[in-house]
């Protein structure tokens, strides 16, 4: 997931950080990753010498703090559970804040390296993940990101002109769908379920995540015979007034409005659409997840909104229920899909460590080679909160089934269980 904005503050912050970054990075270079056992105890981790050192990075401050905090909490829960089991694999974990900033994220990575990190679960957001994945690739430290969904994170994907600008980073894998996959899946879902043929799109063109999904959606929609009647954009700095964009969709007669954006601007779009009495089917992707837990949001505005999401906290299976309870006990909040992805990451790493017959005294690089072998092995399957029998490809992408939900009465409902009245 990506958050970019170059406001005055962002710029000043970037300048300030750039000043100190050089010094910090240099300082980090000299010291090799410490592999000594039983160094200082890390927060929330087991302190036995035979534990793997699991690093996490994500924004726990700043505008994207909700995502990093979710990952941090979920990683802590997963590590506590695994350590309590006392099996062959136990973890010692440390989580570093990057404030959704690429430079700070690389600094966080270096901090974790000095600490002796053997596996990285992170980073949470896209732009920092692109920077950190370069470093992780150089240092050969295994990296599994819960939620950085751009293909630039894993690399090796051809752009629209067929050129590969970023080479595949062989040790970087994703737990979430890539942005293009979400775009393709959304277009297919809309066409297969005949939600409408006239499609309006509102996306954030200052955001790599939103733009990436839109581009693939556009491609796929055209080949499926969907008619995109209008494409409207906004930027992070301009995400206040949506009257023009919504009016344009209405005037173009869009039956479905595709919103590959985060839920905060989406809530403003829904509010305005309601104000002018415009009621198309709003179709969102994983960024829409969280709209129902917005404090103070009138959930009736989201009635009938559809979204693709791999995780729903309302699912009734035992695994989800146990996780939701543990998360609520720890934080008081309902977990979002970022938390679920991060939780799955820890368990996937655990499963891979077991299958790869790793031991905690191996170096990060040895573990990395073994984990890459396991993850690219077609027989390695992992079932977690965000999907059953997930597998990974050599490209680093996960394959799991996208799931659509529809919002009814303030809850996620599977479309097949939805009552007809509300889906109109």
């Amino acid at each position: 997931m990506s958050f970019t904005s170059l406001s005055r503050r962002g710029f000043l912050q970037a300048m300030g950080i750039a000043g100190t970054a050089g010094a910090l990075t240099l300082a980090g270079c000299g010291s090799a990753p410490a592999q000594t056992e039983g160094t200082d105890s890390a927060e929330g981790g087991a302190t036995t010498g035979a534990a793997y050192k699991l690093g996490g990075i994500g924004p726990t401050t700043g505008a994207a703090a909700i995502y990093g905090s979710a990952c941090q909490n979920a990683i802590e829960i997963a590590v506590e559970e695994i350590n309590a089991e006392g099996g062959a694999v136990t973890f010692e974990q440390q989580f570093e804040d990057d404030a959704h900033d690429a430079t700070q994220s690389v600094n966080a990575f270096n901090t974790l390296k000095d600490w002796g990190m053997q596996v990285l679960v992170g980073t949470t957001t896209t732009a920092p993940a692109i920077a950190v994945s370069e470093e992780a690739n150089k240092d050969n430290i295994f990296m599994l990101t819960p939620s950085a969904s751009s293909t630039d994170v894993i690399g090796g994907q051809a752009d629209a002109d067929g050129n590969v600008t970023i080479q595949r980073k062989g040790n970087v894998f994703q737990m979430c769908f890539t942005d293009p996959n979400q775009g393709t899946a959304s277009a297919k879902y809309i066409a297969d379920n005949k939600l409408g043929t006239k499609i309006g799109v509102i996306y954030n063109n200052s955001d790599a995540y939103s733009t990436g999904i839109y581009n693939k959606f556009d491609e796929e929609a055209k080949s499926l015979g969907l008619d995109i009647v209008t494409v409207q954009t906004f930027t992070d700095d301009n995400a206040t007034d949506f009257s023009v964009q919504v009016n344009a969709c209405r005037d173009a007669g869009a039956e479905v409005v595709f919103l590959p954006i985060y839920y905060t601007p989406a809530s403003l779009i829904l509010t305005y659409a309601n104000q002018i009495g415009y009621k198309p089917i709003f179709f969102g992707v994983d960024g829409m997840d969280g709209i129902l837990s917005l404090e103070g949001f009138d959930t009736s505005l989201a009635e009938g909104v559809m979204l693709l999401t791999p995780f729903s906290a309302d699912a009734k299976d035992d695994k989800t229920q146990a996780f939701v309870t543990a998360y609520k006990n720890k934080t008081g909040d309902t977990p979002n899909q970022f938390a679920a992805d991060a939780y799955d990451c820890v368990y996937a790493v655990k499963a891979a460590l077991e299958q790869g017959e790793c031991t905690p005294d191996m170096s990060a690089s040895e573990i990395c080679d073994k984990l890459v072998k396991v993850f690219t092995d077609p027989t390695f399957e992992f079932s977690g909160l965000t999907g059953e029998t997930m597998t990974w490809q050599d490209t680093g992408e996960v394959s799991k089934d996208p799931r659509a939900v529809i919002i009814q009465g303030g809850e996620y409902v599977s479309p097949e269980n939805a009552t007809d009245a509300a889906s109109e």
Binding site: S69, S243, V244, N247, D251, Q275, I276, L294, G296
Partner: protein, 294 residues
């Protein structure tokens, strides 16, 4: 009809910029400093009224009152702690301090209220909206209230500055702080009063901003604050009617640029217009041109 609709949306967005710009222009006009933390005081005002009205379930009007009191106190505190000791320093120092205060407020809000955005319940929720041409044109109650509030505040401020004794002191401080001090005016307390009023206005602006565009985050005030600052410069910084005019024009230009030229360029166009205006009329639309005496 599309044109009228866009015009109304433009005025609606512009009236929010205008009400924020009033606070900027007031503080700049008198204290000659750019209070970049103004946008964040707005955010605090939004949160305080949100806590009173939505979390505690009290009357929203009471929420506005508490927000005004809290923000006024906050404004006075900021001025005392961060700006007053620097009164004799270069204006750049104060500007950097203001940016520091802005970060401090944002991160404090992040600690207190968390990063999760909150949806603000409009203070005029349930009020009827104006419907024209058989409901084809809708003017929301928030827009009407914001425009009225702008007009009332503008008139009240102009009257206050031109008709009262404190207002006279403010004008004197604005013209020449040194001479004002010699005339027996307490420059420090006059500037503190200016900040108090500016921050009180910020609370009202925060409530109206969040009523019109109902998401509340620690960074909510930042971008509207910058746009409103632009509006204040556009209208002529230091001029009270200029702030309102600048705000409304900026809103209209932004919406028209989005609607007729494209959503991708709207900000570029807004700021291009600003550059053109400042090239032709360097003191802004209603600003006074004061030649520097050497």
């Amino acid at each position: 009809m599309g044109f009228l609709e866009n015009l109304i949306n433009g005025v609606s967005l512009g009236s929010v910029y205008a009400i924020i710009a009033l606070g900027y222009t007031m503080v700049y006009g008198i204290a000659r400093m750019l209070n970049f933390a103004h946008g964040d005081v707005i955010m605090v005002g939004g949160y305080v009224s949100f806590v009173i009205a939505s979390s505690m379930g009290l009357n929203p009007l009471f929420g506005i009152l508490v927000a005004v009191i809290v923000c006024t106190a906050l404004g006075i505190t900021i001025e005392k702690v961060a700006y007053k000791p620097l009164r004799q320093s270069a204006s750049l120092t104060v500007l950097i301090t203001a940016i520091g205060v802005s970060y401090l407020l944002q991160n404090t809000a992040l600690l207190i209220w968390g990063a999760n955005p909150k949806v603000y319940t409009s203070v005029v929720a349930g009020w009827p909206q104006l419907q024209l041409f058989d409901g084809q044109l809708i003017i929301s109650a928030e827009t009407v209230v914001t425009i009225c509030a702008c007009a009332v505040i503008m008139i009240a401020m102009v009257t206050f500055i031109h008709r009262t004794k404190i207002g006279k002191a403010m004008r004197a401080v604005s013209e020449d702080p040194g001479a004002a001090r010699l005339m027996g005016i307490n420059v420090d307390s006059t500037i503190s009063i200016t900040f108090a009023i500016g921050s009180g206005l910020a609370a009202i602006a925060g409530v109206l901003l969040c009523s019109s565009y109902p998401t509340l985050m620690p960074t909510t005030g930042a971008m509207p604050g910058i746009k409103a600052f632009t509006a204040a410069v556009f209208g002529g910084i230091g001029s009270i009617p200029g702030a309102v005019l600048g705000g409304i024009l900026l809103g209209i230009i932004e919406i028209f640029a989005k609607a007729y030229i494209g959503t991708q360029f709207s900000d570029a166009i807004v700021f291009a217009v600003l550059i053109i205006v400042l090239l032709i009329k360097p003191s802004g639309l209603l600003g006074k041109y004061v030649p520097e005496k050497v």
